[in-house]
Amino acid sequence: MNSGDTAWVLVSAALVLLMTPGLAFFYGGMVRSRGVLNMLMMSLGSIGVVGVLWVLVGYSTAFGSDVGGVGLLGDPTEFFGLSSLLGEDQLSDSIPTMAFVGFQAMFAILTVALVSGAIADRARFGPWLLFAALWAVVVYFPVAHWVFAFDSTDDAGTVTAVGGWIANRIAAIDFAGGTAVHINAGAAALALALVLGKRTGWPKDPGKPHNLPFVVLGAGLLWFGWFGFNAGSALAADTTAAVVLVNTLVATSAAMLGWLLVERIRDGHATTLGAASGIVAGLVAITPACSSVTPLGAIAVGAITGAVCALSVSLKFRFGYDDSLDVVGVHLVGGLMGTLLVGLFASASAPAGVDGLFYGGGLDQLWRQAVGAVAVLVYSFVLSLVLALLVKAVVGFRLGEEDEAVGIDETEHAEAAYHFSDSGSARRAPVAADDVERELEGSRA
């Protein structure tokens, strides 16, 4: 065990957990004030549901022994409860296996939370939790196996334990989850938006963001946590982690500029929401590519994706699906861009790079990237559609029209985010009121 590596992965795990409340603020600021709490709660709910499931079946399904040796699924029962991983001899390369377990748990949580942005203001909270649980088990855990479970080999190079098919058979490069996290979440978001339908009044009234400072706060927390997400994926405190950290910085910077440039030319103004959105688009794009491009390549990946995502967020108006907070435009499109651009900008001089098209490597890596991206896109979209229809049929998924008008915070959570006046809101406690009444009667008697 290497204590430096272990320390870095444990800190990275904590950084990645912070991304989910960060995402909650990023999304929460973008909805109307009457729905901000529900938006935060969908992210917090993901932490609860997926955190527990990870211990029960998640880690096993993603990183357990491959069932049948075809790279589709880990054995879901292998590490049930994780008790078998508690010993000091339980190591994963240079770190305790439990450090890896915790780190990967945060990825599962964040991915589920990302999906919720598509269904702001109209999904009931209980059915969302049910969907989150089903989706994690049926979609995320297997896809994480495809992308993140690497073959184990002995010294002679013989495979001793089979890992996921995308990581090993296809050899697509996805360092920290462009396919498993972003394309996966984006495709699920599209399916959910289609099943739940449009918000009342959309697209005439898409609803303005009620708190842009929240959006920037959330984007900042996401960026901060993303250094753990990407650089922590090196699973060691080493050169790879350092290169990844720099690439994560510069790609994101370039993406923000790319998004703002499109806005300045198209709309006449560089906006705050555009800057925050460009940051997230850049983070998404560099996630798969961060270990296989040079810093200049990272700038290219970021700038291109920032501009493309700025243009893509209007697709929903053209095609008529209500993806409330642009999970498709930012995560699906951004994830596809980052994953495919690896095939163009990857360089053998980067830690985990092979030469892509622009570095003389031809089309070899590009088709590998495309197969991985399309496979996850199709699998996630189809299964998400089925699960959403199932939840809709069994318990109902959507808020009633009247409740939507009143506001989801009040109808689903019996709370309001902001209290500008306390008049007329004295605590109403039936039992206590009866007591007062009895006392009054007693004093009259």
């Binding site: 303005k208 198209r266 709309d267 006449g268 103004h269 906006t271 929401l273 959105s277 108006f317």
Partner: protein
């Protein structure tokens, strides 16, 4: 007695308050207001989606004054809040039948 009502740019409130203080006006009521005049509203853009905003934030300032001071007060308001740009607002004067100071029960000009 007259009620002078002014719809003004929020940024000009302090200037207006100072000016009315110099003219000896002792009280004022300020409320947040939204509206539009000839120039209409403005447009906001979020992720490329345009939202026309018809109603612009203004302040509504009301002061009760004696007949004799009306012209001076109206001139003072206009002087204090004018920027020369569109959206500077309006001032109007309405007649007031009765004024009662709640604390003392005084009525008429003494109650202002």
């Amino acid at each position: 007695m007259k009620l002078v009502t002014a719809i003004v740019q929020p940024s000009k409130l302090d200037d207006l308050k100072d000016e009315l203080g110099r003219l000896g006006v002792l009280g004022m009521t300020v409320s947040q207001a939204q509206g539009y005049g000839r120039q209409k509203g403005r447009t906001e853009v979020y992720r490329g989606a345009e939202y026309p905003v018809d109603f612009v934030a203004k302040l509504r300032v009301e002061v009760l004054v004696d007949e004799s001071a009306v012209d001076e007060v109206v001139d003072g308001v206009v002087r204090a809040v004018r920027t020369g740009q569109v959206g500077d607002g309006k001032v109007w004067v309405t007649a007031v039948d009765t004024v009662v100071r709640v604390r003392t029960g005084e009525t008429g000009p003494e109650a202002i």
